[in-house]
Symmetry: C2
DNA sequence: GCAGAAACTTGAACGATTGCAGTTTCTGAC
DNA sequence: GTCAGAAACTGCAATCGTTCAAGTTTCTGC
């Protein structure tokens, strides 16, 4: 029953305490709220010293977001391992629809999302973290298209795609919003009055 | 010689201490670096208590960015008071070129920019702050076009336009990059291989 | 000229984070 | 086996950002 077949006892124990800390943190945060729980409380519950806690996580907010590596991996995988003949942007659209905006029926995910949404510190931390994936995503896109890793069109696409959840999740129909924004990205704003000077003039009502 | 002709002595004094604090902060930060200067140091230099300091600024990073109200004002003004017949997006492009990406010859601005760029905490704070203008900008755009204030195309445009500096300033030719990204926004990514599934397939080289 | 609001002060907290000096626990080499 | 050293962990104290409570000074409007 080796969960981590590769490594020795040491690393296993290390992973165990890390997990214990993360579990304790989530439990306490969900029960009492992020700001009403101190790092010491978490350390206490996990039965480690606060020093140890900070050896495993770079800060209080990070306690909530382990799993970030996997998120980035699945993001670049969506681009790299897309179906034959599917465009990069289409793959990202599909990934966005499937993974981001699903108001999950899983009650654990739901409570977690609520916690993050209701805690400003966590909201901000999440956004910062999320946008840091822009580099990796951009690189993945560029690689798929055989372009320079710092190709501007790819970097821009990456950043803009990552903005989609922020734009869509607050709307009454998130799924439709995702579609709309992707259509805008593909076809541009010119078709929507916004793009050209002369077209815009006709339709103003100010 | 009244710099603030409108208000009484009280408000003038208040503005004076606020300014004293901001000046002290910038001076110390530029000299020793943001992280090597404590809030207490700044308060000391400005000859106020730290409590007073926090009555004027919501946090340490905010000491560096007074002037944010004006930035947002000039942003929405660029949209509202654009030349006759100019499109909203064109106005924003012009504003971006004129105000954001200018590697100023003014040595003070340059040192300031370097400070922000070299300090992660400040970089992140700036980005968060910057993106908070999305709401106002989106509303301004929607108003100009006579659309609902929460129109998705306008919100998306606002957020994406605000990403432009982050995309452009790190490049060797920031001005050209601004142009490119605006062109992408207007005409969409479909023309750049990225947009459609079938076109993308032909040009891959993996 | 006075009541009250506003700006400021002192002093003490609280919580996150870091540094330091040790102790225990594993690992790899002999 | 065992032993040296690395790694994980502990306790404690310090620093720093931030806030609170209670009181003092300084303006403003009446």
């Amino acid at each position: 029953m080796p969960d981590t077949p590769s490594t020795g006892r040491r690393e296993r124990k290390k992973a165990a305490t890390r997990q214990a800390i993360a579990d304790a943190a989530l439990e306490l945060f969900l029960e009492h709220g992020f700001d009403r729980v101190s790092v010491r409380d978490v350390a206490e519950r996990a039965d480690v010293s606060t020093t140890t806690l900070f050896a495993h996580f770079p800060g209080k907010e990070a306690l909530v977001f382990d799993r970030e590596a996997q998120v980035e991996a699945s993001l670049t995988a969506a681009v790299r391992e897309r179906p034959e003949g599917q465009g990069v942007v289409e793959a990202l659209r599909a990934h966005a629809l499937a993974s981001w905006v699903r108001l999950d029926s899983d009650p654990r995910r739901e409570r977690f999302a609520a916690l993050v949404q209701q805690t400003p510190a966590l909201r901000e931390y999440w956004e910062r973290m999320w946008m840091r994936h822009a580099g990796a995503l951009s690189a993945a896109i560029a690689a798929e298209l055989g372009r320079e890793p710092d190709d501007l069109a790819c970097s821009a696409m990456a950043r803009f795609v990552l903005e989609v959840p922020a734009l869509a999740t607050t709307r009454h129909d998130p799924l439709a919003s995702v579609e709309t924004v992707f259509d805008l990205l593909i076809h541009g704003w010119q078709a929507s009055q916004l793009g050209s000077g002369d077209a815009a003039e006709d339709t103003r009502e100010a």
